[in-house]
């Protein structure tokens, strides 16, 4: 029973990861791609790790299950932080927004500062 639930969670997780990759290919610029990459990949990876945890608790391998839960917590904390660092670094390095973008108040701030 727990094995079935685990496999379902892993499958759904992989599906979300694939969606994140499709977004990475289709969306136009760095910032939009980061959106797809962080959201889908965070949930996808967490679901895979939760699936492993369910299978681990079900088959008595508690060590494996606890480790995957801790990894899920770390992914939840580090993934948005990494995306934030990448977005901020790209903007500081002068990577332009997609030409269809409507507003850039961060650029305005940078200009008033300098």
């Amino acid at each position: 029973m727990s094995e079935t639930i685990g496999y379902i969670m892993i499958t759904v997780g992989v599906l979300f990861d694939v969606l994140g990759c499709v977004g990475l290919v289709r969306l136009p610029d760095v910032y939009n791609r980061l959106q797809a990459a962080t959201k889908c990949v965070t949930l996808g990876t967490c679901l895979i790790l939760f699936g492993v945890a369910v299978m681990g608790f079900g088959s008595g391998q508690n060590a494996m299950a606890v480790k995957s839960l801790i990894c899920a917590a770390f992914v939840l904390i580090t993934s948005p932080t990494g995306a934030h660092a990448l977005a901020r670094g790209s903007h500081k390095a002068g990577v332009p927004l997609w030409q269809g973008s409507v507003i850039d108040q961060y650029q305005e701030y940078e200009e008033t500062k300098s």
Partner: protein, 162 residues
Amino acid sequence: MKAIIQFLIMIALWLLLTWSLQPADVIAGIVISILTVALMGNIFLDKAARLFNPIRLFWGILYIPYLLWYILIANFDVAYRVLNPAMPIRPGIVKIKTCLETEMGKTFLANSITLTPGTLTVDIIGQDLYIHWINVKYDNDIEAQSYEIAGKFERILRRIFE
């Protein structure tokens, strides 16, 4: 006091990761935890002790399913935008204001914003957050933007961290 809390968190994490209580493992864990606290102690949050207040803990635990629900919505939102052939996006970087004062509260708010539908934190400067929004709805209306993006998290984060 701060160092003791840090040490206890580190050793708990070590024991959970190694999942063994053999003397060699435990001693290695104690040594590594002390080293970590000594080297990295200064970047730990300032008022850690007050997070163990039961009311704050209660709101903290309540926050986890709340956040997971918004992460789930975010994923379907991204899936819709990515799979739609017309790709309905209207991106831009907007500025919002937050009422949270503590560093920890702002960090959690920024990370939560990144994980929720269509928004990505680019930078935090004082009380201003710069957000990349995949579907900008307002033209330069900071109040409305702040409420739409951060309001739902500030309600709970204020009770945990402030």
